[in-house]
Symmetry: C2
Subunit: 502 residues, 2 copies
């Protein structure tokens, strides 16, 4: 029973005491760690408040997971783009939808501020060089915007039960470049904007340790830049925006075992190792909801007709209305069905996968588990018990022919009997297709980005935002909510740090 | 965006620095915080190692949740009680079962040591005054031991799929007093044993803060005893055994929102407020798997024939083999079916609840949601869609008549068609019956009880065990696993602290 270290994880969290810092190499007002969308927005807001800002970025130029993303921001409440496309929206409807879809345990205070501030945020974003093309991608066609289409549905707003809880509106605002969704372009704009606002960006720099004073206040950072150690004093605050921990196997195993090994992580491998979350925890910050993840099962992304199929579990039972968004599908399949699910289609809706659409999305394989002429044969082919899948298909067909789904209330738009042979089961089991992942748990913050300790006390000088914090998408996810939250909470944290008087 | 405190939670976690301690009121080798089963076993082991031990207990005499428990310890691998009752068991079978049932992400190192050490642990427990009566409660009759029956099944060992993974054996070892399960009696024996070993027990004392030295080593505790502040130096270590956080609403909301508000907590209200977990976190300890809980839906506890009924969800679908243990039922119903489940029985198996049996268990209400003469009528009464529940019942009956359950593989013992009218749906939805809860997440420890920080480094001088740590039942639960883990890991931590040379 001798004490030993569990040495499977990189070291970065224990803070350094002020007395251990011989001298400060540099001093600024606000230090931002990480130059993704969150860091860029924090830096812009802080620099525009008139204080000196430096962003430490691990990579050679910045961008983070945001630059690899599809550049969707979840905004609403009546943005000019929504209005221009003919949609009414309201902050209250947005609030109700988000509380319902980001739970259980959604952070209602954050969602309130986010919903009420969303139109302003739209103006701030567009005021900093981001353009949204004025068209709408019709829901019936795709959630994947095409050229000219800045707006699309990126959640389950129109699906049961959400459509009963809040009036649906499309809220996915996508940044396009040459007609393609481009996180890369979005980050170029935001990074240029940060530089123009006066924030200094220091690449090739790993923030390794926070520095705290004797009272526990965070006062700086020890970094390593091109091999050299560097001590940086932050007079007003340190804002951690280094992303989540989807690429840290050990953290997944410890905090989110359901996500470990079953999925593949989104974002650049050099980021999202949880270093910022661990630094914050080391300084006394509480990390909450660390088991939560965005899990995407994008089976209808490239081929919308797949929503006319039915999703079934290992017993051949339907378990969800198929028209919920791909993230809700990932959550339901992984957490509730143990990742044992199939999509059943008939020849009328089956299509070979569109490789181009897929490549711009997460790569999901189309493996056919079984093909058969009748429901009974398909059931037998899949090794399902008698009268399981066949009953499901026949009952579904009977009601679908009347435009009804009394079981799960799929919108009538997608209801069509599966009756053109052959029938096929597309294999969406874990291991047979991609369950794309990023993490949603992180440091416990106030809406202003202040990091709280285990007792709910604010740790002076320490801020976190984006996926380093537990934010708007606390448990459930829709596309655009992470970048929406990153840009919004990045701004909040940057402003909070800039205006703090130590 | 001004920083403000989130002041909804009691304060206890930030440690005090050694320099802030003017003088030590007392000095011992090992301080144990909390006198439940974990604390008692830690104290015994440490005292028997020959060092001075003091236990600080919040209540007036100790006992904790253990004293309110059903006194079941999950042990196996071939204990004398198992052998005496004619059962073969093996540490490897126990290990395989526990890895399968305590996942995903079960701590295999801990389960290995626990399984390999279980027979020794049995001897240690019985060597410290605990007696197990030499009979077996037949599985077909109950999992609730009666007079003379120290052994019973308290898990899903015989149920699919576990019976295929590991050879089943009953491993629930229950402490009886006057024929009744008695956590109260078990704690009297363990507390007396601790006193006899030389451990001092100081009641009416709240441990409020850990004391750390400049290097971060835990060196003592600041406590409050009958209103007076007291500083206690621990030369070798502090062992935190204060239980989980089932009674802390704010912690449930932050860390385990799925458990918040849907369940009722087990254990005494004065304990299990997470104070020890928070103290450990404040000293740099990592808390892991904080979303996990034991959730019990004990619908067959007092009336075993209920296993002959079928569990269905809101769509009238079966979703589980009914013969899994009550904790697996709680987990499946709450996490996978949103707490929307019913037990369907017919008149042949229905029985008015046995109030006596219930009272010794968790109180669950028997609310009848619907009664009807036919499956179709019952389905309509419950507002379920056509051909949902009726199809489920008719298909189940058809196979049950042949002794088969091709859907979920319930053991044939429990298969019997539901065909004696009337049929009834017992309402087991959240809010309509008790989902009894305690928490399983806690401090990240090595098998020896050493608390690790966020990076996996051991925090010198700090130990945790029982429900203050994340232990054997990391994600899934069987009865007896908590007390089994508490007594075993309490011993490990007590021994580790006693033998540490600072």
């Amino acid at each position: 029973m001798t004490a030993k270290r569990d040495d499977t994880q990189p070291q970065s969290s224990p803070p350094i005491q002020e007395r251990e810092v011989a001298k400060w190499d540099e001093e600024v007002d606000v230090l931002v760690l990480g130059m993704g969308a969150t860091g860029a927005c924090a830096a812009i807001e802080a620099a525009e408040a008139g204080v000196s800002v430096r962003v430490l970025e691990r990579g050679w130029r910045g961008g983070g997971a945001s630059a690899e993303s599809t550049a969707q921001l979840y905004m609403g409440g009546g943005t000019p783009l929504q209005k221009g496309c003919g949609f009414e929206d309201d902050p209250d409807e947005m609030y109700k939808y988000l509380v319902a879809s980001c739970g259980p345990g959604a952070d209602e205070a954050k969602i309130r501020i986010y919903s009420d501030g969303s139109v302003d945020h739209y103006h701030w974003i567009t005021g900093h060089g981001i353009h949204f093309e004025p068209g709408f991608q019709p829901y019936e066609v795709s959630t994947h915007p095409g050229p000219g289409q800045g707006l699309s549905y990126t959640g389950s707003e129109r699906a049961h039960p959400y459509c009963k809880i809040a009036k649906p509106a499309p809220r996915g605002h996508t940044v396009l470049k040459d007609g393609q969704m481009s996180g890369e372009y979005m980050m170029q704009v935001l990074m240029r904007s940060a530089a123009e606002a006066g924030a200094a960006i220091q690449p090739d720099t790993d923030a390794e340790r926070l520095v705290v004073d004797a009272a526990g206040e965070v006062i700086g950072v020890v970094a390593r830049t091109r091999g050299e150690k560097q001590t940086l004093r932050a007079r007003r605050g340190v804002v951690i925006t280094t992303g989540g921990f989807a690429h840290n196997e050990e953290m997944l195993r410890r905090y989110a075992p359901a996500l470990h090994g079953t999925t593949y992580p989104i974002g650049p491998a050099i980021g999202d190792d949880g270093s910022g979350i661990r630094m914050g925890m080391g300084a006394g910050g509480a990390a909450i909801r660390m088991d939560s993840g965005c899990v995407t099962l994008g089976f209808a992304y490239g081929h919308r007709d797949n929503l006319r199929g039915i999703m079934v579990n290992a017993q051949g039972q339907r378990y969800i209305n198929e028209d919920v968004y791909q993230t809700n599908h990932g959550e339901a399949a992984l957490y509730q069905q143990a990742g044992e699910v199939y999509l059943i289609v008939d020849d009328a809706i089956y299509a070979r996968p569109d490789r181009e659409a897929e490549e711009s999305s997460v790569a999901w394989e189309v493996n056919i588990a079984a093909v058969a002429q009748t429901p009974e044969e398909l059931e037998a082919e899949l090794g399902m018990p008698p009268r399981s899948l066949s009953h499901t298909i026949r009952t579904y067909n009977e009601f679908a022919a009347r435009g009804e789904d009394p079981y799960f209330h799929k919108e009538s738009l997608w209801l069509q009997p599966l009756q053109t042979p052959p029938l096929a089961a597309i294999d969406l089991r874990v291991g047979q297709t991609a369950y794309a992942l990023f993490t949603l748990g992180g440091l416990h913050t106030l809406p202003g980005g202040e990091v709280m300790d285990v007792e709910g006390n604010v740790i002076p000088g320490l801020y976190a935002a984006g996926r380093t914090a537990s934010g708007i998408p606390a448990q459930g996810y829709n596309s655009g909510l992470s970048l929406g939250d990153c840009t919004f909470t990045g701004r909040m944290a940057g402003a909070s740090a800039a205006t703090r008087n130590p």
